[in-house]
Protein backbone atom coordinates (compact mmCIF):
# COMPACT_ATOMS: atom_id res chain seq x y z
CA UNK A 1 0.00 0.00 0.00
CA UNK A 2 2.65 2.48 1.08
CA UNK A 3 4.92 1.34 -1.73
CA UNK A 4 2.13 1.82 -4.26
CA UNK A 5 1.43 5.33 -3.02
CA UNK A 6 5.12 6.22 -3.22
CA UNK A 7 5.41 4.78 -6.72
CA UNK A 8 2.38 6.71 -7.85
CA UNK A 9 3.88 9.96 -6.53
CA UNK A 10 7.02 9.23 -8.54
CA UNK A 11 5.16 8.37 -11.74
CA UNK A 12 3.09 11.52 -11.35
CA UNK A 13 6.28 13.51 -10.85
CA UNK A 14 7.94 11.98 -13.90
CA UNK A 15 4.76 12.79 -15.84
CA UNK A 16 4.53 16.47 -14.83
CA UNK A 17 7.45 17.45 -17.00
CA UNK A 18 9.01 15.91 -20.06
CA UNK A 19 12.31 17.18 -18.69
CA UNK A 20 12.23 14.82 -15.69
CA UNK A 21 13.88 11.59 -16.73
CA UNK A 22 13.98 9.63 -13.50
CA UNK A 23 13.24 9.91 -9.83
CA UNK A 24 13.76 7.95 -6.64
CA UNK A 25 12.99 8.01 -2.93
CA UNK A 26 15.91 7.01 -0.74
CA UNK A 27 16.39 6.55 2.98
CA UNK A 28 18.77 9.01 4.58
CA UNK A 29 21.36 6.21 4.94
CA UNK A 30 21.30 5.46 1.23
CA UNK A 31 18.84 2.61 0.65
CA UNK A 32 16.24 2.71 -2.11
CA UNK A 33 12.64 3.03 -0.88
CA UNK A 34 10.97 3.52 -4.30
CA UNK A 35 12.39 4.26 -7.73
CA UNK A 36 11.57 5.02 -11.32
CA UNK A 37 15.00 4.83 -12.82
CA UNK A 38 16.21 4.07 -16.34
CA UNK A 39 17.08 0.44 -16.99
CA UNK A 40 20.60 -0.46 -16.10
CA UNK A 41 21.08 2.28 -13.51
CA UNK A 42 22.35 0.75 -10.29
CA UNK A 43 19.89 1.48 -7.45
CA UNK A 44 22.51 0.97 -4.75
CA UNK A 45 24.80 3.56 -6.31
CA UNK A 46 22.06 6.10 -6.81
CA UNK A 47 20.97 5.56 -3.22
CA UNK A 48 24.39 5.79 -1.63
CA UNK A 49 25.44 8.81 -3.69
CA UNK A 50 22.22 10.65 -2.88
CA UNK A 51 22.69 10.05 0.83
CA UNK A 52 26.32 11.15 0.76
CA UNK A 53 25.62 14.31 -1.25
CA UNK A 54 22.63 15.34 0.80
CA UNK A 55 24.45 14.80 4.07
CA UNK A 56 27.45 16.83 2.89
CA UNK A 57 25.04 19.48 1.63
CA UNK A 58 23.40 19.64 5.07
CA UNK A 59 26.74 20.07 6.84
CA UNK A 60 28.13 22.54 4.33
CA UNK A 61 25.06 24.73 4.31
CA UNK A 62 25.04 24.78 8.09
CA UNK A 63 28.78 25.30 8.65
CA UNK A 64 29.21 27.95 5.97
CA UNK A 65 26.29 29.96 7.27
CA UNK A 66 23.71 29.30 4.56
CA UNK A 67 21.18 27.92 7.02
CA UNK A 68 19.06 24.84 6.60
CA UNK A 69 19.61 22.90 3.39
CA UNK A 70 16.81 23.12 0.85
CA UNK A 71 18.31 21.26 -2.07
CA UNK A 72 21.47 19.96 -3.69
CA UNK A 73 21.75 20.65 -7.41
CA UNK A 74 24.38 19.07 -9.62
CA UNK A 75 24.80 20.26 -13.19
CA UNK A 76 26.55 18.10 -15.74
CA UNK A 77 26.85 18.77 -19.44
CA UNK A 78 24.20 16.19 -20.23
CA UNK A 79 21.77 16.78 -17.37
CA UNK A 80 20.91 17.80 -13.83
CA UNK A 81 20.68 15.87 -10.60
CA UNK A 82 18.45 17.42 -7.94
CA UNK A 83 18.19 16.18 -4.36
CA UNK A 84 15.68 17.38 -1.79
CA UNK A 85 14.80 16.20 1.73
CA UNK A 86 11.47 14.43 2.07
CA UNK A 87 11.15 14.82 5.83
CA UNK A 88 14.20 14.14 7.92
CA UNK A 89 14.62 10.46 7.09
CA UNK A 90 14.39 10.41 3.29
CA UNK A 91 15.70 12.06 0.12
CA UNK A 92 14.05 12.57 -3.26
CA UNK A 93 16.50 12.42 -6.15
CA UNK A 94 15.50 13.57 -9.62
CA UNK A 95 17.39 13.37 -12.92
CA UNK A 96 16.48 16.05 -15.47
CA UNK A 97 17.46 16.95 -19.00
CA UNK A 98 20.12 19.61 -19.59
CA UNK A 99 17.68 22.21 -20.95
CA UNK A 100 15.11 21.63 -18.20
CA UNK A 101 13.21 24.60 -16.76
CA UNK A 102 14.55 24.32 -13.26
CA UNK A 103 12.11 26.69 -11.55
CA UNK A 104 9.16 24.48 -12.45
CA UNK A 105 11.01 21.32 -11.55
CA UNK A 106 11.96 22.72 -8.14
CA UNK A 107 8.29 23.37 -7.42
CA UNK A 108 7.11 19.96 -8.61
CA UNK A 109 9.79 18.10 -6.71
CA UNK A 110 9.18 20.10 -3.57
CA UNK A 111 5.49 19.31 -3.71
CA UNK A 112 6.22 15.62 -4.29
CA UNK A 113 8.65 15.65 -1.35
CA UNK A 114 5.95 17.05 0.92
CA UNK A 115 3.55 14.31 -0.14
CA UNK A 116 6.19 11.66 0.39
CA UNK A 117 6.91 13.00 3.87
CA UNK A 118 3.22 12.57 4.74
CA UNK A 119 3.28 8.92 3.70
CA UNK A 120 6.57 7.88 5.30
Amino acid sequence: MRDEMLSSILSELNGTSADIEASAIISIDGLMIAAMLPQGMDEDRVGAMSAAMLSLGDRTSDELGSGELEQVLIKGDTGFVLMIHAGKDAVVTVLAKPKAKLGLIFLDVKRAAENIEQIL
Binding site: D29, L31, A48, M49, A51, A52, S55, L56, R59, D89
Partner: protein, 178 residues
Protein backbone atom coordinates in the same frame (compact mmCIF):
# COMPACT_ATOMS: atom_id res chain seq x y z
CA UNK B 1 53.89 23.62 8.33
CA UNK B 2 53.42 20.31 6.56
CA UNK B 3 50.17 18.55 5.96
CA UNK B 4 49.50 14.83 6.00
CA UNK B 5 46.30 13.03 5.22
CA UNK B 6 45.38 9.64 6.58
CA UNK B 7 42.21 7.62 6.14
CA UNK B 8 40.25 5.53 8.64
CA UNK B 9 38.23 2.66 7.27
CA UNK B 10 36.69 -0.63 8.39
CA UNK B 11 33.26 -2.16 8.88
CA UNK B 12 30.22 -0.47 10.40
CA UNK B 13 30.57 -0.06 14.15
CA UNK B 14 34.34 -0.57 14.28
CA UNK B 15 34.74 2.91 15.75
CA UNK B 16 35.94 5.10 12.87
CA UNK B 17 33.73 8.06 13.74
CA UNK B 18 34.48 7.68 17.45
CA UNK B 19 38.24 7.38 16.88
CA UNK B 20 38.45 10.55 14.81
CA UNK B 21 36.41 12.42 17.42
CA UNK B 22 38.78 11.12 20.13
CA UNK B 23 41.93 12.57 18.59
CA UNK B 24 40.75 15.57 16.60
CA UNK B 25 41.88 18.94 17.90
CA UNK B 26 38.57 20.53 16.94
CA UNK B 27 34.99 19.34 16.76
CA UNK B 28 35.04 16.85 13.90
CA UNK B 29 32.82 17.05 10.85
CA UNK B 30 30.65 13.98 10.76
CA UNK B 31 27.88 12.82 8.46
CA UNK B 32 26.05 10.45 10.78
CA UNK B 33 22.49 9.77 9.68
CA UNK B 34 19.76 7.54 11.07
CA UNK B 35 20.33 3.96 9.98
CA UNK B 36 17.64 1.90 8.28
CA UNK B 37 19.83 -1.06 7.31
CA UNK B 38 21.34 -3.88 9.42
CA UNK B 39 23.44 -1.25 11.18
CA UNK B 40 20.41 -0.37 13.27
CA UNK B 41 20.83 -3.51 15.34
CA UNK B 42 24.24 -2.29 16.49
CA UNK B 43 23.88 1.47 16.68
CA UNK B 44 21.29 4.07 15.71
CA UNK B 45 23.39 6.12 13.29
CA UNK B 46 25.77 5.51 10.44
CA UNK B 47 28.28 7.55 8.42
CA UNK B 48 27.05 8.23 4.88
CA UNK B 49 29.80 10.42 3.44
CA UNK B 50 32.80 11.10 5.64
CA UNK B 51 34.24 12.04 9.01
CA UNK B 52 36.86 14.74 9.17
CA UNK B 53 39.15 15.91 11.94
CA UNK B 54 42.64 17.36 12.40
CA UNK B 55 45.40 16.35 14.76
CA UNK B 56 48.34 18.71 15.24
CA UNK B 57 51.80 17.41 16.02
CA UNK B 58 54.28 19.65 17.85
CA UNK B 59 52.57 22.68 16.34
CA UNK B 60 54.09 22.19 12.89
CA UNK B 61 52.63 19.06 11.37
CA UNK B 62 48.96 18.85 10.68
CA UNK B 63 47.45 15.41 10.24
CA UNK B 64 44.14 15.53 8.39
CA UNK B 65 41.97 12.60 9.42
CA UNK B 66 39.30 11.27 7.09
CA UNK B 67 36.87 8.49 8.00
CA UNK B 68 34.91 6.50 5.41
CA UNK B 69 31.46 4.93 5.58
CA UNK B 70 31.68 1.19 6.37
CA UNK B 71 29.09 -0.29 4.01
CA UNK B 72 30.21 -1.42 0.59
CA UNK B 73 27.49 0.60 -1.15
CA UNK B 74 29.53 3.68 -0.23
CA UNK B 75 32.74 2.39 -1.78
CA UNK B 76 32.85 5.35 -4.20
CA UNK B 77 33.64 7.39 -1.07
CA UNK B 78 36.57 5.06 -0.36
CA UNK B 79 38.12 6.06 -3.70
CA UNK B 80 37.40 9.74 -3.20
CA UNK B 81 38.74 9.88 0.34
CA UNK B 82 41.98 7.98 -0.24
CA UNK B 83 43.10 10.34 -2.97
CA UNK B 84 46.27 12.07 -1.80
CA UNK B 85 46.38 10.10 1.45
CA UNK B 86 49.55 8.73 2.99
CA UNK B 87 48.22 5.78 4.91
CA UNK B 88 45.27 3.73 6.10
CA UNK B 89 44.11 3.05 9.63
CA UNK B 90 41.97 -0.07 9.44
CA UNK B 91 39.68 -0.54 12.43
CA UNK B 92 38.15 -3.95 13.05
CA UNK B 93 35.43 -4.77 15.55
CA UNK B 94 36.36 -7.94 17.45
CA UNK B 95 32.70 -8.64 18.30
CA UNK B 96 31.69 -9.07 14.66
CA UNK B 97 31.02 -12.52 13.29
CA UNK B 98 34.27 -12.89 11.39
CA UNK B 99 36.66 -9.98 11.94
CA UNK B 100 39.46 -11.75 10.05
CA UNK B 101 37.24 -11.91 7.01
CA UNK B 102 36.49 -8.19 7.51
CA UNK B 103 40.24 -7.54 7.52
CA UNK B 104 40.78 -9.49 4.31
CA UNK B 105 37.86 -7.75 2.65
CA UNK B 106 39.08 -4.26 3.51
CA UNK B 107 42.70 -4.96 2.66
CA UNK B 108 41.59 -6.32 -0.72
CA UNK B 109 39.35 -3.29 -1.28
CA UNK B 110 42.17 -0.87 -0.44
CA UNK B 111 44.97 -2.95 -1.91
CA UNK B 112 46.19 -0.39 -4.46
CA UNK B 113 46.15 2.39 -1.90
CA UNK B 114 47.91 0.29 0.75
CA UNK B 115 50.58 -0.86 -1.69
CA UNK B 116 51.52 2.77 -2.33
CA UNK B 117 51.17 3.97 1.25
CA UNK B 118 51.11 2.36 4.70
CA UNK B 119 48.73 0.41 6.91
CA UNK B 120 48.07 0.17 10.65
CA UNK B 121 45.37 -2.10 12.07
CA UNK B 122 43.42 -1.38 15.25
CA UNK B 123 41.25 -4.06 16.86
CA UNK B 124 38.39 -2.53 18.87
CA UNK B 125 35.91 -3.90 21.42
CA UNK B 126 38.47 -6.37 22.76
CA UNK B 127 37.04 -5.61 26.21
CA UNK B 128 33.86 -7.37 25.01
CA UNK B 129 35.36 -10.07 22.79
CA UNK B 130 38.95 -11.08 23.60
CA UNK B 131 39.32 -13.43 20.63
CA UNK B 132 40.61 -13.55 17.96
CA UNK B 133 43.86 -12.44 19.55
CA UNK B 134 46.49 -10.24 17.94
CA UNK B 135 48.75 -13.14 16.93
CA UNK B 136 45.94 -14.51 14.75
CA UNK B 137 45.68 -11.16 12.93
CA UNK B 138 49.45 -10.98 12.56
CA UNK B 139 49.56 -14.47 11.12
CA UNK B 140 46.86 -13.63 8.60
CA UNK B 141 48.69 -10.45 7.58
CA UNK B 142 51.89 -12.42 7.03
CA UNK B 143 49.98 -14.88 4.86
CA UNK B 144 48.66 -11.95 2.86
CA UNK B 145 52.20 -10.54 2.61
CA UNK B 146 51.09 -7.28 4.16
CA UNK B 147 53.27 -5.46 6.64
CA UNK B 148 51.35 -3.54 9.26
CA UNK B 149 51.39 -2.82 12.98
CA UNK B 150 48.41 -4.30 14.84
CA UNK B 151 47.14 -2.93 18.16
CA UNK B 152 44.20 -3.42 20.43
CA UNK B 153 42.52 -0.03 20.68
CA UNK B 154 39.48 1.42 22.33
CA UNK B 155 38.26 4.03 19.85
CA UNK B 156 36.87 6.08 22.74
CA UNK B 157 40.34 6.51 24.26
CA UNK B 158 42.48 9.30 22.93
CA UNK B 159 45.74 7.63 23.99
CA UNK B 160 44.88 4.38 22.21
CA UNK B 161 43.94 5.99 18.92
CA UNK B 162 46.84 8.41 19.07
CA UNK B 163 49.31 5.54 19.50
CA UNK B 164 47.86 3.74 16.50
CA UNK B 165 48.08 6.87 14.35
CA UNK B 166 51.62 7.53 15.49
CA UNK B 167 52.71 4.02 14.59
CA UNK B 168 51.28 4.60 11.12
CA UNK B 169 53.03 7.96 10.81
CA UNK B 170 56.27 6.37 11.90
CA UNK B 171 56.00 3.88 9.03
CA UNK B 172 55.37 6.77 6.65
CA UNK B 173 58.11 9.05 7.94
CA UNK B 174 60.37 7.89 10.79
CA UNK B 175 61.59 11.48 11.18
CA UNK B 176 58.31 12.84 12.47
CA UNK B 177 58.28 14.04 16.08
CA UNK B 178 55.28 13.90 18.34
Amino acid sequence: MSNFKIVFSGPVGAGKTTAIASISDFAPVSTNENASDMTRERKPQTTVALDYGVMKLDGREKIHLYGTPGQERFNFMWDILTSGGLGLVLLLDNTRKDPLKDMTFFIDSFRDYISQTALAVGITQTDIASVPRLDIYNKKLREMKISAAVFEVDARKQADVSLLVQSLLFTIDPGLEY
